[in-house]
């Protein structure tokens, strides 16, 4: 096992002795058990491990949608525990993009409107909003489907919209929980290529949870966890 503390370059996340426990039907479960590690910026990072190892819980903690039972997490230089509920929402809105396994698009909004949504939350001006949304849709190759509702899109197209939605605001950190799990291998490969390209263009940090070997082969940083503990960290040269 190797861990990094204050490794090369600035960090997007710092975890110190992070523990997350919860009750599952009366049973106390420790999903994250004293993790301490850093994640550098602008990297294509993977959290890998078997089912139930704590990948999703760790991602939730990094995404500031869950709070640790103990320990300390800094995301984009911010101690999340110091923020109020509203401040955490605003922090997510500004710095973090999410890509979900089930796409989680808003069903009553078109592809364009789904991508535009985070910019509306940020109060971006109309002209800039339009420009960025159209540019993002073009990047993911969905200009022709911009008026389609999610129900009118294929799985791959939905995930492209989700990627565009996650990236349109230029977040520092993009979190993706098994983004290819509901896609066929061909579409999954295309989505990985797309994310890799966009990550490179936007210089954002991507953190995935996955056990898809196809995805793992693209990782620049790989964090292997088991039973809520980090057991290995591999880092490719930048």
């Amino acid at each position: 096992m190797s861990t990094q503390e204050g490794g090369p370059g600035p960090l997007v996340a710092r975890l110190r002795e992070v523990v997350k426990t919860y009750d599952d039907e009366g049973l106390r479960v420790t999903a994250v058990n004293g993790m301490t590690f850093d994640i550098p910026r602008q990297r294509f990072a993977m959290i890998v491990g078997p089912s139930g190892s704590g990948k999703t819980t760790l991602l939730n903690l990094l995404g500031c949608i869950d709070t640790p039972s103990s320990g300390r997490i800094e995301v984009c230089g911010q101690d999340v525990a110091a923020l109020s509920d509203n401040e955490v929402s605003d922090f997510r809105s500004r710095y973090i993009g999410f890509i979900f396994q089930n796409f989680n698009l808003i069903p009553v909004l078109s592809a364009y409107e789904n991508v535009e949504y985070p910019l509306l939350l940020l109060g971006t001006g109309a002209a800039e909003r339009r420009e960025r949304t159209e540019s993002m849709l073009e990047s993911v190759g969905l200009t022709a489907q911009r008026e389609h509702r999610p129900s009118q899109l294929s799985g791959g197209q939905k995930q492209r919209v989700a990627i565009a939605r996650a990236l349109v605001k230029g977040p520092e950190l993009v979190l993706a929980d098994e983004p290819t799990a509901n896609l066929d291998s061909h579409t999954g490969a295309a989505i990985i290529e797309l994310m890799r390209r966009v990550q490179h263009e936007l210089a954002a940090t991507f953190i995935f949870s996955t056990h898809d070997p196809q995805l793992i082969s693209h990782a620049e940083e790989t964090y292997t966890i088991r039973d809520g503990k980090l057991i290995e960290h591999r880092s490719e040269a930048a």
Partner: protein
């Protein structure tokens, strides 16, 4: 359109059937409240019109008459009533408000038709016939009349001609002579009852006192004799030629009602003494002027040291307020039921919407929407449902009211004897329309707040995990 309303409206359309049922429930509530409110307004204003036509808006009387004087009206007469009327009519504040100011005399006694040996206690009112006719024309709210206006039964030029209730005419055996329909024949026993001692006395008394009043020409009209006690306590009798019998709506009144010219009533009540008025009836142009007129009258009477008091028609006829109170309670009850239905329907609809969109709630929260934003989203949907339902309901209510008002329906309101066209009062009901609309929209919005709060309290992780 803002993002909030865009998502809200699309979610409403997304669950079309459920939204339609919710909207319909709100619409039915709005229609029911509007139509019942319009019906109540029609009934209350109709009742007010009937009362104001009959007894005016305000009655000036001697202090204490309202509480104590009806048993002895002669003792509470206003001796200088003409000066009081002049004071009122010439007052610059009251003058523009006044439609009619007229003296009246109320009295009680026994009415008899000795051709058939029938008698009955009566409640009499002495009026100025021309003023009475003007009062009957009062129609502030523009109600239609069912029957064409009849020629006045009494005129100022005929001092012995009067009007009685249909019931009294029936009791006194005047059906045939007054050509009353639906009048049961008097039984043989009733037609020729044994002459009682009281009636004999009354007849003897009448023979002695009636010559003067009988001298006036009756024009072939049936005649009745009226007996009352004068201010001095002595019995007095006058004759009245019955020009017409008019139904009075309330049986007790119909069986005892006599309207006669003021002079005849004064002659009966005061005999050869000073002729006074028991009251001065004031009919205003507008009912809304009652408080101002009343305050001015009180100031006038105080300034001139007059021992007079003023009562409005709702005090003289407490049934008016009782009917308004009862109808208000019924309206409140119906509004409460409709409100509860709307409340539960919207809570149910929005709760189902929240349950179906848990994952969406988690997603939007993860994207950075605050708890308050989630709350606003669902409240906006309740607001839109309320606006749609209330607007549709009011439009439907207006269409139903139009149909009812043009269907030629009629009914007999309380305290009236003749049917009138049934109307749902749609004009001038802005307060009701706005009140119903705002009330239901507010209720739907508040109802949505309950599930909206539940949605806002969800933990992001739990919501995202929801399948």
């Amino acid at each position: 359109m803002s993002l909030l309303l865009k998502i809200a409206s699309r979610n409403i359309l997304r669950n079309g059937r459920r939204s339609l049922m919710t909207t319909l429930a709100i619409a039915v509530g709005a229609s029911a409240m509007l139509l019942f409110g319009e019906y109540l307004a029609f009934m209350i204003l109709g009742l007010q019109t009937t009362m104001v036509q009959r007894i005016g808006h305000l009655t000036v009387s001697r202090q204490g008459y309202f509480e104590l004087g009806s048993g002895n009206p002669a003792a509470y007469g206003i001796s200088d009533y003409r000066e009081v009327m002049k004071l009122i009519e010439d007052d610059p504040v009251l003058k523009p408000m006044l439609n009619v100011a007229t003296p009246n005399v109320t009295l009680f006694g026994i009415a008899g038709n000795f051709d058939v040996d029938a008698s009955k206690t009566f409640f009499g009112s002495g009026v100025v016939p021309s003023d009475r006719e003007r009062m009957k024309q009062w129609n502030e709210y523009g109600f239609e009349r069912t029957a064409p206006a009849q020629a006045p039964a009494m005129t100022d030029a005929e001092p012995n001609r009067g009007v009685i209730g249909v019931g009294l005419a029936r009791i006194l055996g005047l059906c045939e002579r007054l050509k009353l329909g639906d009048c049961p024949a008097r039984s043989a026993a009733a037609a020729a009852p044994p002459v009682s001692r009281a009636v004999k006395d009354f007849t003897e008394l009448a023979k002695g006192d009636l010559e003067a009043t009988r001298a006036a020409p009756g024009g072939g009209l049936p005649r009745i004799d009226l007996l009352a006690a004068t201010a001095g306590g002595a019995p007095n009798v006058v004759s009245l030629y019955v020009a017409r019998a008019e139904p009075q709506g309330v049986k007790e009144l119909d069986d005892s009602y006599v309207v006669m010219p003021l002079g005849l009533a004064q002659q009966l009540l005061y005999g050869r003494g000073e002729h006074k008025a028991v009251g001065i009836v004031l009919q205003l142009h507008r009912t809304g002027d009652i408080p101002a007129a009343r305050a001015r009258l009180a100031a006038l009477f105080k300034a001139h040291g007059l021992d007079l008091e003023v009562h409005d028609f709702s005090e003289l006829q407490p049934v008016y307020k009782q009917i308004i109170g009862m109808m208000g309670a019924i309206f409140s009850f119906i509004a409460a039921i409709m409100g509860v239905i709307v409340l539960f329907t919207v809570v149910n609809t929005m709760s189902m919407s929240v349950m179906e969109r848990v994952n969406e709630i988690g997603t939007t929260r993860a994207l950075g929407v605050r708890r308050a934003g989630i709350r606003r989203q669902f409240v906006a949907e309740g607001l839109l449902l309320g606006i749609l339902g209330a607007s549709a309901g009011l439009l439907a209510g207006a269409a139903i009211a139009y149909a009812v008002n043009h269907a030629g329906l009629s009914w007999t309101p309380p305290m009236q004897a003749r049917p009138v066209p049934l109307r749902l009062l749609s004009s001038g009901m802005q307060a009701l329309v706005i009140g119903v609309w705002l009330g239901l929209v507010a209720l739907a919005t508040l109802a949505a707040l309950i599930p909206a709060n539940r949605a806002a309290r969800m933990q992001v992780v739990d919501a995202l995990r929801h399948v």
